[in-house]
């Protein structure tokens, strides 16, 4: 641990000095150095990464690299509040049995065949992740897959992998799928409609390609499942395995969730109609719904906020956003943007490729929120260079989500699912066992997105 800590300090300080050497001023160098320490903190000390964010922001304030006003401005409270609202809402949906109900629906697939199972888990994983977030979705999909694989006595790993890949691809489809979705929407001024018209179809194309590829990659386990389904007959026991009390609570929760999604989907129209600032309805809708949930379930209101909201993660996001904002405030990202545009010869197509591939490869190693938070001020700085930012935001979104499939630490969904698998079945995934299939899925889907961003007029 001490060695890693030493490396963290050494690398961060060296980067600081190096950037000063190449002409950045001291505040710009400190901002880069501190952001670098936060990134390394997430890499080396995931379990207590927040401590580096706390210390980092304190150093930035003490060295006058930023000020309190900017810390608050860049902490992106609107994104944090949106996530808090969604977490409360999802907590209530869980308590009402919504997710167990989804699992039950999968267990009840009629005339189950191996291909039907793979296609259902892929699309349900993707859709669930577009509506509730990747981390929430994957838990329920893993539960369903493990029960089905247990029943038919097949190795669950390939099917868990299919669910994970589909979840990560699906998370790019809407603003709800991944924290980077709402972050990009908020900073780029993109609407839910933009996501539905542009990101959703593209994510579905990527999903179809992923499923086709995985059907070939995992043909042997799928064949084995098919044989076992024939051997064991219909999934009679699974049909009855779990039930969800059909209570009023579930129905009311579904109505609240449905209305929230509807308003989120129509937010842009409503903002125009009511003369509100862009994205106001999008950002406050989860707050309105979770506020209503807390009035309805007032005895549990505190529990929702204390247990269902992941404060650890959200606090880390806030401070990380503030640190990334300092990069912008000091002008460090303007220098970086100028250099990147210079490398790309001011060619927008080349720049799209750079943003897409850097974010895909970067998010295969780093938390994609860290990467996107760093990239956002760089893309904003391109505006000053009179470049069309529109395709760059989509490149960042898809790179950040699809890159998560490349390695086993690429996204939180991967870590959560593999954690359950290890605990439940004592199956430990190795880096390279994941890497080849992950790399293939990651490369193929990123190439699809690259082509779409370069040639489809809708993205230009």
């Amino acid at each position: 641990m001490l060695k890693k800590f030493f490396f963290l300090i050494l690398i961060s300080v060296s980067i600081g000095f190096l950037t000063m050497r190449i002409g950045l001023n001291s505040h710009q160098s400190i901002a880069i150095s501190i952001f670098c320490a936060s990134i390394l903190g997430t890499l080396f000390f995931w379990d207590f990464r927040l401590s580096f964010a706390f210390l980092g922001i304190s150093v930035l304030l003490l060295t006058k690299t930023t000020n309190l006003e900017n810390v608050i401005k860049f902490a992106s409270l609107e994104v944090i509040l949106f996530l808090v609202g969604m977490m409360v809402l999802v907590g209530q949906m869980k308590a009402a049995g919504f997710f167990a109900w989804i699992v039950q629906l999968i267990l009840r697939i009629r005339n189950m065949t191996a291909y039907k199972f793979v296609i259902v888990i892929s699309f349900v994983s993707a859709i669930l992740s577009t509506m509730t977030s990747e981390v929430v979705s994957i838990i329920f999909m893993v539960a369903a897959v493990l029960e089905i694989c247990d029943y038919f006595e097949v190795e669950p790993l390939p099917f868990i992998m299919i669910a994970i890949f589909a979840t990560n691809v699906g998370s790019a489809a809407t603003v709800l799928g991944n924290p980077i979705g709402i972050l990009i929407a908020s900073k780029a001024g993109l609407t839910f409609e933009d996501f539905i018209v542009k990101a959703f179809p593209l994510a579905m194309v990527c999903l179809t390609a992923t499923v086709a590829l995985l059907l070939v990659w995992y043909r042997k386990p799928i064949k084995q499942l098919e044989a076992n389904i024939k051997k064991f007959g219909a999934n009679e026991m699974l049909v009855r395995l779990i039930s969800v009390p059909p209570e009023k609570e579930l129905k009311i929760s579904l109505v609240i969730f449905g209305v929230t999604l509807l308003f989120i989907a129509l937010h842009h129209r409503l903002e125009l109609l009511w003369g509100l600032e862009p994205n106001t309805v999008l950002l406050i809708m989860p707050l309105i719904s979770s506020g209503a949930v807390m009035i309805w379930k007032h005895s549990k209101a505190r529990e929702f906020i204390e247990h269902d909201v992941e404060w650890w993660t959200l606090l880390f996001f806030m401070l990380l956003f503030a640190q990334a904002g300092t990069l912008k405030y000091t002008g460090a990202t303007d220098v970086l943007a100028r250099n990147l545009a210079g490398v790309a010869g001011n060619s927008p197509s080349f720049l799209i490729g750079i943003v897409l591939w850097i974010s895909a490869i970067g998010s295969s190693i780093l938390d994609n929120v860290v990467l996107v938070a760093a990239f956002i001020p760089v893309i904003q700085s391109f505006q000053g260079l009179n470049l069309n930012l529109h395709p760059l935001w989509w490149a960042l979104l898809f790179g950040g989500c699809l890159g998560g499939n490349i390695t086993l630490v690429g996204s939180t969904a991967n870590i959560v699912a593999l954690g359950i698998l290890e605990k439940e079945r004592n199956i430990r995934m190795t880096f390279f066992k994941w890497f080849w299939v992950g790399l293939t899925v990651g490369l193929v889907t990123t190439v699809f997105v690259w082509i779409a961003l370069l040639f489809l007029p809708i993205f230009l």
Binding site: K94, A95, A96, G97, R240, V244, E424
Partner: protein
Amino acid sequence: MKVKEIMIQDVKSISPESNAREALLILEQLQISGLPVIDAQSKLVGMFTEKEVLSYILPSYIEKVGRFIYEENPKGIKKKLVELSNVKVSQLMRRDVVTVEENTTLCEVARVMLIQKARRIPVLDSTGKVTGIVARCDILKALAREVQEPHEGV
């Protein structure tokens, strides 16, 4: 009154190397719900309780899935019960064990039990060796006795 005066001194324990199925049988035979796990150096290394066995055989995601009712016993649970003989006590035991020293007062033990949600607490001597164990009911009985016989020992 100190905890050493009321603790059970004949502590039944189990080795971390024993298999979990045998440990479960011992719990059944002794009609208790948990045992301290003590290694070859007489050090307390964990607690093996029925709760740990239950949380091993049931899927770890049940709490996360939210509200539902099991209408059938899943195949996986039976499989895990069979596999218990291949699992060591050290793999299932709770490592984070709350302990008290012999000279701790009854009220302090009661406070620790309440705060840490512990049903029974191993008692250690100054060298860290387990010398006894005390359960919630022992504390309550002893405290009640103190109320009934307030002048005893004065």
